[in-house]
């Protein structure tokens, strides 16, 4: 045996995921579909929020959703009430979605049929941050019941997201949620991040967020045409 020696290599550990994510992003661009991925803690109201989003967008837009869940199909069943095409990705013990799972789930869908595709990640604010899914926009959702300092506890996922939505606004008084503190926490970990304050239950504040999505879709398509 020779002496141990050091050899230089350069290998991104997540390269395989990133390659698939890039190819998905190109597919989405060509099909003109705007893809939003949702990340949040368990119990923050992701499914209620998504159900409301799908229902309110549908009169005008063609929408679909992929939902990641560890074990059950409950979320997909709930979302199917919106009448939008919904597919479940059951991850088993895996705590996050990877680009390959999204690619497999989409294999028999024609993306040209959709304006918006939503990808609901597994409820987890840690693991999904490392994995690019090819999405056009990453949305991090938190609810007022989780406390104002959530962004400081999970800075990586907030930093990697494009917009923040704070939901369950109808409970603000009951849980004494301080909006300014929450805004400051987000601004600290992700300067300039756009924040939507709303209630998926009552519908309050949903319009601003939906208008924002519509504007993003228009922009996405105008860039895709160039």
């Amino acid at each position: 045996m020779s002496e141990p020696r050091l050899v230089e290599v350069r290998r991104n550990v997540l390269k395989q995921n990133d390659v698939i994510a890039r190819s998905l992003r190109e597919q989405f661009r060509q099909a003109g579909v705007f893809v939003v991925s949702l990340v949040s803690s368990p119990g923050s109201g992701k499914t209620t929020f998504l159900e409301k989003t799908l229902t309110l967008l549908q009169p005008q837009y063609r929408v679909a959703a992929l939902v990641g869940d560890l074990a059950t199909e409950n979320d997909a069943v709930r979302l199917a009430r919106s009448k939008a095409p919904v597919k479940q990705i059951t991850t088993g013990t895996l705590c996050h979605l990877e680009a390959a799972m999204v690619q497999n789930a989409l294999s028999d869908w024609d993306l040209h049929h959709f304006d918006f595709l939503f990808i609901e990640n597994v409820g987890n604010l840690v693991c999904p941050s490392s994995y690019d899914l090819g999405e056009s926009l990453r949305l991090v959702l938190m609810s007022v019941t989780e406390g104002e300092d959530k962004p400081l506890k999970y800075p990586t996922i907030f930093n990697s997201a494009d917009i923040a939505v704070i939901t369950k606004n109808e409970l603000t008084t009951a849980v004494e949620f301080d909006w300014q503190t929450a805004r400051n926490s987000i601004e600290s970990v992700r300067p300039g991040m756009k924040i939507f304050r709303l209630s998926a239950k009552t519908g309050e504040g949903m319009n601003d967020y939906l208008d924002f999505l519509a504007a993003q879709l228009r922009e996405h398509r105008s860039i895709a045409l160039k």
Binding site: P4, R5, L6, V7, R11, V13, C127, N159, R190
Partner: protein, 114 residues
């Protein structure tokens, strides 16, 4: 905890490099950014498990931490952040999201024997 999948990815990549070069790997050197979303201790713990029953069994994982480096538009220079909880220039307090380093999850060297 996704560190086990990451550790398995590291082992696969290192085995692939070792096969191509016809060498045995003693240690894997990894750059780990503060914004990579990977917890170092959990990764080190998972690495041993991921190596089991592979040619890398018994090898070491040596992690080099990479802090977040941002570009401050006001200072017109790069700055190292002391914490991932505050994206403010440590010199002039200007907020910045121009991230230059800190997302690395990259094997940069292998300690090998023929």
């Amino acid at each position: 905890m996704h560190e086990l999948s990451i550790a398995m990815g590291i082992v696969d990549a290192a085995m692939d490099e070792a096969r191509q070069r016809g060498v045995h790997v003693n240690a894997v050197h990894l750059r780990l950014g503060a914004l990579s979303g990977v917890v170092k201790d959990a990764l080190l713990f998972s690495y041993e498990a991921a190596c089991q029953d592979t040619p890398l069994a018994g090898s070491r994982l040596i992690v080099e931490d990479v802090p977040v480096v941002v570009f401050c538009p006001r200072c017109d220079d790069t700055r190292v952040l002391g914490s991932v909880q505050s994206f403010l220039c440590p010199e002039c307090n200007t907020p910045t999201m121009d991230i230059r380093k800190g997302k690395e999850l990259e094997i940069f060297a292998l300690e090998v024997e023929e």
